[in-house]
Symmetry: C2
Subunit: 217 residues, 2 copies
């Protein structure tokens, strides 16, 4: 398969697209990135993902794959000669999938709820729930990383990608709402991990930096 | 690993628990089934799944796995000498995961919306969306089964389990609301598949039959 057979339909500042970019970088796969205009979606996108009509879509040869976590697993299973993203042990795999589901369907929606919630008192309640989730994820990090740098151990793995893709949004919320979510006093390991992750070569220039104004909340 | 090292914490009439039962049956795994009382959850459940506190939970030796689709994948990856539930080709696997996500997060919630929706006109709109989803899933069935009996080909696979576990609920809605959702004129292949699936030895006595009053909507 030629490297130019890989295209990614994406949207700058989408954490879901960032996941695929990081996974492709981890496997050292050259790909063509095609920015989508969500106000006027390309026929390529509409044909490749007629059900959801959403990015990211990975086009590999004449086939397309949609949904960020499905794509990340596909990349891991097709390009097996790069570092493994999903753990090899079935129980570790199950844990990674469980926590990915928790992050996407339970923890991350709290950040949207925080943005929408009106009233200082109610906002504090949601903020505390976000932080409780991060404390839980800190425990997961300690367990999975076994003293190493990443959820994936020595190198970035599935859970690093799933949670790490949201770091830009977390920073954006912290800046626009003047709150501290990733707090060194509550989740010291996760704070260190987030710095390490963001500076990793496969992540730099992928997850948007709020200072540059890529993310507008 | 002794067969009596496998326990399933479940709840009769939960389609998510049924998924795990079918997967275990497909792999001919003996297991101990422990019915949970959701009004008074066991300490076994609360310790094994402290995050969600929900069934199903598979306890395998001293380890536990939660979330139905995570468990089904775990079973497939641990007991590799039975029939494969997830397809072996990466693209087929991606398709199966994409449609499982569609069924759980887009299609099935429509059935809850249908139950909650008031007003005949609005109910008809939701009903049509449920049927549109089934028409889409009929196309998926035709593509995946390649003329064979199941989404998984010759035998029950991942998507059969994901969609098939909801057949009892679908029938219950049809009976209590006097509507036709799985319709031979609109989704003939899916109707035939549903009969075949429900009568399969690994499914019989697992997915509740509404006639017996197992499901009360």
């Amino acid at each position: 398969m030629e490297t130019n057979d890989v295209k990614l339909l994406g949207r700058c500042a989408s954490p879901y697209v960032n996941r695929v970019q990081i996974a492709l970088n981890m496997k050292s796969i050259n790909y063509e990135y095609l920015e989508e205009n969500l106000g006027s979606k390309s026929s390529l996108l509409l044909n490749a993902n007629p059900v959801n009509k959403k990015v990211p879509v990975l086009i590999h040869g004449h086939k397309s794959v949609s949904e960020s976590l499905v794509i990340v697993q596909y990349i891991d299973e097709v390009w097996t000669n790069g570092p493994c993203l999903i753990p090899s042990d079935p129980l570790d795999r199950a844990e990674a999938r469980f926590w990915a589901d928790y992050i996407d369907h339970k923890w991350f929606p709290l950040t949207a709820e925080f943005k929408l919630t009106q009233g200082e008192g109610r906002k504090v309640v949601v903020k505390e729930r976000i932080i409780e989730g991060l404390v839980l994820l800190e425990e997961v990090f300690v367990k999975c990383s076994k003293g190493k740098d990443y959820f994936g151990g020595d190198s970035i793995g599935y859970l690093d990608i799933v949670l790490g893709s949201f770091l830009g949004w977390l920073t954006a919320i912290e800046m626009t709402s003047d709150v501290q979510l990733l707090d060194i006093t509550k989740t010291p390991d996760l704070v260190e991990w987030s710095n390490r992750f963001s500076l990793n070569d496969v992540v730099r220039n992928v997850v948007p930096e709020t200072e540059k104004g890529w993310i507008k909340l």
